[in-house]
């Protein structure tokens, strides 16, 4: 029996991040407490940057690696690179220690009881929880593996590797810990539920095809006759698992609650990167494995896309909490991406890749701005407190407005080009009615984005309103990068569009 080969060079970005995560756990075990925070941040940054460098060096690679279990191709590398860039920026928000006096956004010890003496002592000692960094690295590694997975098993493993750390991270907020715990519980229970559904679906698909590999499933679509029931219910159940991760209606119910309850840096990371990874996996699964039966899954996705866009945009209208509003906005955005996904061709893939990159950056930035607006109880997330922010802090409000305009898809911002390309791809793919719904939904969406802008700039400031905290250089750099990228991709989207176009070829 010959030993299987592993393409270490192509898998190096993944191995780097996984390795760093494991080392991070060891650091927790052996490095003295005072040095831990610095060491962890440095390690995480180094690992992510090193991984990013490797991804860039791999550009253009098209390899089926690890005996067919993993594919390193254009979409995988594009998404891995984007996820790494977003994670590096997220690290900056995680490491922010100037907003909370002497602490970061996370509870000093997740095990201490909220309101207990133990917690007070820990806060006074300025204890920091550093496990968040290895957890994040694990999640990043899972996210990088997810869109590269080429068989059902690896896809499931990656799904769990990215989800499990996120469940924990959601429960670690320093303030409003009960809400944070609740978010973690909800996310966990529903997430576990959805992965069980996903797994059950993959069992059916395996039962249909007799193989876990996407390529062989794709072949089986034409050879296996008479077991379509097995296949179709399997595809449906797997779709549910992925649609849950991207927050599509009717699997979206967790999104607002979890986005609101989780510590905001985690929300930012999760909203941006999970969606990228999950859409990447979804595109690969549906195009590579199930491309042959697209006429079967397209109607279902049509319905889901319409419901997602409508519910996301409409419910966001009446939200009063900024984090919940952004959560519904992210639901609507998932719907916009789904319109292109329905088209199922190379243009659509390119459009999705571009959209995800621009959306991820703007989302990170928007949530980071949310961390800056604070009152005595921590972040002031109620919309009424944001009234008149533009008068007191024009730069912060202006930056937030920029991100909102990008979400709304106003020209000159990255969101405009992104929306244009997904809608164009959907029209090419014959989904014009979907695009009409999409345009209507984005009109509704633009309304609530502009409402926030009007609130910030044209309303009288709220009495005893929140102050805008001055962040450390970490957050400042992170937000500036996000804003610059949002503007730049709105002005000169050409290079990234070309890159996405080149990267949009799947290796089977």
């Amino acid at each position: 029996m010959t030993a299987p080969t592993l393409e270490y060079a192509e898998l190096a970005p993944l191995i780097t991040v996984f390795g760093a995560a494991v080392i991070g756990v060891l650091i927790e075990a052996f490095v003295p407490r005072r040095a831990r925070h610095t060491v962890q941040v440095v390690l995480a940054l180094l690992a992510l940057v090193a991984s990013l460098v490797q991804v860039i060096a791999l550009a253009g690679t098209e390899v089926v690696a690890a005996v067919g279990a993993v594919v390193i191709d254009g979409p995988a590398l594009f998404l891995q690179g984007t996820i790494l860039v977003l994670s590096i920026i997220s690290i900056a928000f995680f490491a922010e220690r100037k907003l909370e006096a002497g602490g970061d956004a996370f509870a000093p010890a997740a095990s201490s009881l909220p309101g207990s003496d133990e917690e007070r002592v820990l806060v006074r000692e300025r204890r920091l929880q550093t496990e968040i960094y290895p957890l994040m690295l694990f999640a990043v590694a899972g996210m990088m593996l997810f869109p590269a997975a080429n068989d059902l098993l690896i896809m499931f493993i990656a799904l769990e590797v990215l989800s499990l750390p996120l469940y924990l991270m959601c429960g670690m907020a320093r303030r409003r810990r009960l809400l944070s715990h609740e978010a973690a519980l909800k996310y966990f229970l529903l997430g576990a539920f959805s992965s069980a559904v996903f797994l059950f679906g993959s069992a059916f698909v395996y039962g249909f095809a007799g193989s876990l590999r996407f390529s062989e499933i794709s072949t089986a679509l034409t050879t296996e006759i008479g077991k379509e029931g097995l296949l179709l219910s399997g595809v449906g159940l797997m779709a549910v698992g992925l649609l849950f991760k991207v927050g599509a209606v009717p699997f979206h119910a967790w999104t607002p609650d979890v986005y609101q309850g989780a510590p905001t840096p985690v929300t930012a990371f999760m909203a941006a990167c999970t969606k990228l990874a999950a859409f990447g996996a979804m595109v690969r699964l549906f195009y590579v494995a199930f491309g042959g039966v697209r006429s079967d899954w397209q109607p279902m996705l049509w319905a889901v896309a319409i419901a997602t866009m409508v519910v996301g945009a409409v419910v966001a209208l009446t939200q009063t909490d900024i984090k919940r509003m952004l959560a519904y906005s992210s639901i609507a955005h998932a719907g916009f991406v789904l319109t292109a996904l329905v088209a199922a061709d190379q243009t659509a893939t390119a459009a999705i890749l571009f959209y995800l990159a621009t959306y991820g950056i703007a989302t990170l930035g928007a949530f980071a701005v949310v961390t800056l607006v604070r009152d005595s109880g921590g972040e002031a997330t109620h919309l009424s407190k944001w009234a008149g922010l533009g008068k007191r802090s024009p730069i912060v409000a202006g930056t937030f407005a920029l991100f909102l305009l990008a979400f709304a898809g106003i020209p000159m911002t990255s969101g405009f080009v992104g929306k244009l390309s997904v809608f164009a791809a959907a029209i090419d793919g014959g989904a014009t009615p979907l695009v009409i719904v999409g345009v209507l939904a984005s009109a509704v969406a633009a309304f609530f984005y502009v409402r926030v802008i009007v609130l910030m700039f044209f309303s009288a400031p709220a009495e005893e309103g929140p102050t805008v905290a001055v962040p450390s250089v970490w957050t400042t750099v992170g937000i500036s990068l996000g804003a610059a990228a949002t503007l730049l991709l709105g002005l000169v989207p050409g290079p990234l569009l070309d890159l996405a176009q080149q990267a949009a070829v799947f290796v089977r």
């Binding site: 493993i157 769990e160 499990l164 519980l185 966990f188 539920f193 559904v197 059950f200 069992a203 395996y206």
Partner: protein
């Protein structure tokens, strides 16, 4: 070998698990129901592996057991924390985040 009986059993288990998540208030029990769903999937995998005569399905079953175990650890950690804070593991008590 016809996998149908196993498949039927697996679907029944899966449904029981799903119903458990919907109906049981205790987070721990709800979570156990999810584990039941995973094991239903395992059963299906193994049955199909037998039907197709390859080992892929069984390997998946191994991995699923591991993943399920990891999920247990994470789940227990979250549920225990909630229980210690609220003195209750009812999922209905955890409903501060809404609307």
């Amino acid at each position: 070998m016809s996998p149908t009986p196993y498949l039927v059993l697996s679907v029944i288990l899966f449904t029981i698990g799903g119903a458990g998540v919907l109906l049981r208030r205790n987070a721990l029990v709800a979570f156990m129901s999810v584990e039941l769903m995973l094991n239903a999937a395992n059963l299906a995998f193994v049955a199909f592996a037998r039907m197709h005569g390859n080992l892929d399905g069984q390997i998946v079953a191994f991995f699923v057991m591991v993943v399920a175990a990891a999920e247990v650890v994470v789940g227990l950690a979250i549920i225990v924390t909630i229980f210690r804070t609220r003195r209750s593991a009812s999922v209905d008590d955890a409903s501060l985040l809404k609307l």
